[in-house]
């Protein structure tokens, strides 16, 4: 660790992993509800458990991004963080607000939560991924602005590297686009149209900048490849991501009441969305192959390469599978979408946060460049367990999706939704058991933090 203030990243990473565990537990609950419909009913109905599952994902990724920023920005800027105290204060505010929100979801009916938190005054609740009470949303904005201030002041005062600038742009975009979550018109089409300005322009826009910056930072450290080379490819890759991704929003505007020309614009541009992900994969492997040093943290390299490959598969390939309007006409809102969502989020964002944690943790915890060999081995095992599991979860959901689409939408005698769900239950069972293996992988990952090795690496 080069700068004392980088240590504020530590609680963020711990919180991220803690919430990740929660996310997977609730994933297992809803996975079970898919096959045993009345599981935990009526105490935790599916809609509540799913909301916890997705919201925890978003919150822990945000914790991860913030932790990553606090770790890498001082090192890139070559100066201490503007205010470590503010960073710690924001951590507790965000954690408590997040925890209270989750408790609210679980403790009272959602309608009660809406009433208690004054959703009447400014109704923003009840929309997918943006279920948080309005007051929580405001809290998120405040935390995000204070966070940006802290990071921004550090960058302004220090060395302005490409990685820092791109990261700052991405984080700023994240905060600005979130403001559209406060726009909730009664007109459903307008509501949906601008809802995607948050959701799509996050995950297929500004988050990719954050991901690219984190990956570039880690690759520079791990491979020793010239910063100039990595930074210019970072620019090119994120340029391609935005060129294809912004108009690519159109692939969400096919069937929600927006004009039909989006079927063409959306198809054409989103068909090209795999390109930046493919470039990122080639980029990551090329840099690792051209490495100028052998970094002792092998696990971090594995996570980094895993990010590149899985992001391409999940976001690129599985996205392309159903992005063309004529295909999407049949697959829209089916298990195919769920399949894509699981692998894309895992590949692009879960893995990039873990990559960062894996790289930074030895510095934060042991002040060494890498953990002991046994811990790394466990980390790598957990990588393969989780990654192979998510691949199979995706394949099973794709299988379920193909059957669902055929039986419910394509066949000459379309069957009702619930009838189809019963027919494809086998796939849901397979998905559930694979999810259990994923959870085992996650437990192994957590265990790796506590694993003691025989050899101890020299302090850096």
């Amino acid at each position: 660790m080069q700068f004392q203030s980088q240590a504020v990243a530590k609680p963020y990473f711990i919180a991220a992993i803690g919430l990740f565990i929660g996310q997977i537990l609730f994933g297992l609950i809803i996975g079970t509800q898919y096959v045993i419909g009345d599981f935990l009913f009526p105490e935790i109905p599916f809609n509540v458990a799913r909301m916890v599952h997705t919201n925890l994902l978003i919150v822990w990724l945000l914790f991860g991004f913030m932790g990553a920023a606090y770790y890498l920005v001082p090192e890139e800027a070559e100066r201490e963080l503007f205010s470590p105290k503010l960073a710690i204060a924001l951590f507790w505010i965000f954690l408590v607000a997040g925890a209270l929100t989750i408790v609210g979801y679980l403790a009272v009916p959602y309608a009660t939560l809406a009433a208690v938190t004054g959703n009447d005054l400014l109704p923003t609740m009840g929309r997918e991924f943006l279920e948080q009470p309005t007051i929580t949303k405001m809290g998120i904005v405040v935390v995000a602005l204070a966070f940006l201030f802290n990071i921004g002041m550090t960058i302004i005062a220090g060395r302005k590297t490409v990685i820092n600038i791109v990261l700052l742009t991405g984080l700023t975009g994240l905060a600005v686009l979130f403001l559209f979550s406060f726009y909730n018109p009664i007109n459903l089409v307008l509501d949906k149209m601008f809802w995607w300005w948050v959701v799509h322009l996050w995950v297929e826009g500004v988050w990719e900048l954050i991901m690219g910056a984190i990956l570039a930072f880690v690759l520079i450290r791990l491979t020793g490849v010239d910063r100039e080379v990595i930074e210019k490819w970072l620019y090119v890759i994120i340029a391609m991501a935005l060129i294809t991704g912004i108009i690519g929003t159109g692939h969400h505007y096919y069937w929600i009441g927006t004009p039909e020309y989006w079927q063409w614009w959306g198809s054409i541009f989103s068909a090209l969305e795999p390109i930046p992900f493919f470039m990122m994969t080639v980029f990551a492997f090329t840099m690792v192959n051209r490495r100028r040093k052998e970094h002792p943290n092998k696990a971090a390299t594995l996570w980094a390469l895993g990010t590149a490959v899985m992001a391409f598969l999940g976001a690129g390939v599985w996205g392309f599978l159903h992005t063309l309007a004529p295909v999407n006409f049949y697959t829209h809102g089916s298990q195919i979408t769920a399949a894509h969502g699981h692998m894309a989020f895992y590949g692009a964002y879960v893995l990039v946060v873990i990559t960062m944690i894996s790289y930074a943790w030895p510095h934060l915890q042991h002040n060494a460049p890498a953990s002991n060999g046994r811990a790394q081995l466990l980390e790598m095992w957990s990588f393969w367990l989780m990654t192979v599991s998510i691949v199979f979860i995706t394949l099973f959901l794709t299988g379920a999706g193909i059957l669902q689409v055929y039986l419910q939408r394509v066949s000459d005698t379309p069957l009702p939704f619930m009838v189809v769900q019963d027919k494809i239950a086998l796939f849901y069972w397979l998905r559930l058991w694979t999810g259990v293996i994923f959870f085992v992988g996650l437990c192994l990952y957590v265990y790796s933090f506590f694993a003691k090795g025989k050899e101890t690496l020299a302090s850096s």
Partner: protein, 192 residues
């Protein structure tokens, strides 16, 4: 001096970064063109009928304008290779001027269509016509911005025969804008 260094290496003229952009743009336009062509194959009558409402003279005139402006850019590159910044600036200004002519003609064409109540939602043909030409229109503007940036740098003596990669970069992009129109014109205005 008449064969700058890069010519021997067989490298692409200008900065490679612009070529990544150019290839991406060509890919987008290529896919867009084929989307048009195959959408037309399913709607031949609608496309033929709607196409009659296009102003082919404007389209052809704009083709000539763009070809000429591309030619001016070629002369600008030749001028800087002769170490003549002044002439380079003049040719660039002429090219940008032709770009403005293109925009004006195109705006008349758009105004004509809009006043006839034609929009993106009129039918599939006009969706493509407006999408493709507007998308290209924006590229002309971007190309002009790039050329203007090159012009200002050239005017302040920023380029020389030995170092003029920026001029080639801007020129390559502008030629791409021309190239795309060369396909767009026959595809949308002529073939039926």
């Amino acid at each position: 001096m008449d064969t700058p260094l890069h010519d021997d290496t067989g490298a692409l003229p200008g900065d490679f970064a612009i070529w990544i952009f150019i290839f991406a743009e060509l890919l987008v336009f290529g896919v867009f063109f084929l989307a048009y062509a195959f959408a037309r194959a399913n709607n031949v009558e609608l496309f033929n009928e709607s196409q009659l409402q296009l102003d082919r003279i404007s389209g052809a005139a704009n083709t000539l304008v763009l070809i000429t402006s591309s030619y001016f850019v070629v002369r600008a590159v030749a001028a800087i290779r002769d170490d003549d910044s002044r002439r380079c600036v003049h040719w660039l200004a002429a090219a940008i001027g032709m770009g403005s002519v293109f925009l004006v003609i195109k705006m008349f064409e758009f105004a004509d269509k809009f006043s006839a109540g034609i929009s993106l939602s009129t039918n599939t043909f006009f969706m493509f016509y407006l999408s493709l030409t507007f998308f290209h229109f924006m590229h002309v503007i971007l190309g002009m911005v790039i050329l203007a940036a090159v012009l200002f740098k050239a005017r302040s003596g920023g380029y020389s025969a030995a170092s003029h990669i920026g001029v080639e970069t801007g020129a390559s992009y502008w030629h791409m804008v021309d190239l795309v129109w060369l396909i767009l014109f026959p595809l949308v205005y002529v073939i039926h």
